[in-house]
Amino acid sequence: MPSPATGTGAGRKRLRHRLGGSAVLACALALTGCGGGADPASDGGSGSGTGDTITVFAAASLREVFESLAEDYETRNPGSEVVLNFAGSSDLATQIEAGAPADVFASADAPTMERLAEAGLIDGEPGEFARNRLTIAVPQGNPAGVNGFADLTGVRLVACAPQVPCGAAATRIQEVTGVRLSPVSEESSVTEVLGKVISGEADAGLVYVTDALAAAGEVEAVPIPEAAEVPNSYLIGAVAPNAPEAAREFIDTVTGSAGQALLQEAGFQPPADRP
């Protein structure tokens, strides 16, 4: 380009630059506006108004039972779809608080469900639908010879950190038995504990009865009789404010006889109000 053009060229460039800057700012404002409001996300939802699709957020330990219950539900209600999301209860609760489009929430402990209920995010009263308790998982052949809770003091034990539900349950058992444990690792999820027992890195791990049962070929379980005194409550509820009718129906499936049969097959205990 010849030299006379450079002056205007630079001017235009500066103008464009400024326009570009304001466009970026507008984008940023739009983005924060979108991220800040949780409400527009939940009524936009996953087609929850149609009743065809329901989104279920459930604790990771419920995966197998809920997968077959969802399949069962879809067969009985042709055209419907159950979208499942499994993770740690705390993680799921955080997602729901941030506006994730959930219709049903099933937690592996009471405090997490209470946290959402207090925030007004649960429609009605959440109900207990199952109980779970800890057991000792040991690698195949039980190389360290663990026969009970008191044996855990002398072996390489992996447990959950006291901050998470499975760790809180372990703390309660220590209080009941008076046995003080010193794990070599305090994991943030029961899956990590189980993984370290399966790989043989740990001599023993504290996991839920249902986890040990699901991994039956890979670990052996040593029962803890005292664990029955301090079980975990599993609670389920419809997510407010726009839970569709189908959400209630799915909850009924879980608390009904078919759901209870599957849960007990997987090693869960029935809720307190049932035999």
Binding site: A28, S90, R156, Q163, V164, S185, S199
Partner: protein, 280 residues
């Protein structure tokens, strides 16, 4: 003999360096670049907006936070040292010699860059774990690695090593081999050439590679969680502490995240400074 070494590199064409003040960028490019930068900066700003400043000092100086920060800094420093010791020879071999299968080897060495860290952790477990490839040998020597601080350092070194190899190899290639060739013709032995010519020449590259490795080690999470476990003061580094705190005290997790971001910014800033003066 010294005769074989210098022949490999001296005629390599130096790649032209981009000029400072290059005039021809189209204006729209700035907009896209700004959007890209925003994509990185906005989430960081979001973390800052969530910090509970009133509780911040108390949250970051709690016993568990201090233990995690200390552990992170010491293990990352140890991992960086291991990266320099093992990575420098690797970069030299890759940049200054030729042998069959070199390309394949380079690709494999850089694998931890693209591997999900959890996979790295599983791989380390199957190597150094009790039931692992070297488990029996290590036990015979009386060494237990899993659930120890050593396991943390190994996991960090595994993921950080490619950063050092990559930056140093790049520095070696762009420095070219002509000074080394001259030194060799003047009678310097390969070790002398390496010590007096090559290493001083690529020192900025080595330094920035080391700083990047340190930063990567500091952020290591997946491999550590899988391979080393999580116990305060022993294996629970800052990222693992953040992950755990998030369950019960999100404010503490946010505060610690900010500490980690601050340390990372400091480290990356240092890397920039150490490599920048090369271009006047």
């Amino acid at each position: 003999m010294t005769g074989t070494r210098p022949l490999t590199a001296p005629d390599r064409v130096r790649s032209p360096k981009p000029r400072v003040g290059f005039p021809g960028l189209p204006p729209w490019l700035f907009l896209v670049a700004a959007l890209g930068a925003l994509f990185i900066l906005l989430p960081l700003a979001a973390v800052v907006t969530r910090v509970d400043w009133a509780r911040f000092p108390e949250l970051v100086t709690s016993e568990s936070s201090i233990a995690a920060l200390k552990l992170s800094l010491t293990t990352s420093a140890a991992a960086t040292a291991l990266c320099i010791v093992a990575g420098t020879p690797m970069a030299l071999v890759l940049a200054r010699s030729a042998f069959p299968g070199q390309q394949v080897l380079r690709a494999l060495v850089l694998l931890p860059l693209v591997l999900p860290p959890v996979v790295g952790g599983i791989a380390l477990l199957y190597t150094f774990g009790r039931q692992g490839l070297l488990g029996g040998t290590l036990r015979a020597l009386g060494v237990e690695i899993a659930f120890s601080t050593t396991a943390v350092v190994l996991a960090q070194t595994f993921v950080a090593l490619p950063f050092l190899v990559l930056s140093l190899e790049g520095a070696l290639r762009s420095a070219g081999g002509r000074y080394e060739a001259v030194a060799a013709t003047l009678g310097a032995s390969p070790t002398t050439v390496l010590r007096r010519v090559t290493i001083p020449l690529v020192l900025p590259g080595l330094l920035s590679g080391a700083v990047l490795s340190f930063a990567r080690a500091l952020g290591e999470f997946g491999a550590t969680l899988t391979f080393a476990g999580s116990l305060q003061g022993v294996t629970r580094t800052l990222p693992l502490e953040i992950y755990l705190q998030r369950e019960t005290d999100p404010d503490a997790a946010v505060a610690l995240s900010l500490v980690l971001v601050a340390v990372a910014v400091l480290v990356v800033g240092l890397a920039h400074r150490s490599s920048a003066p090369a271009v006047p």
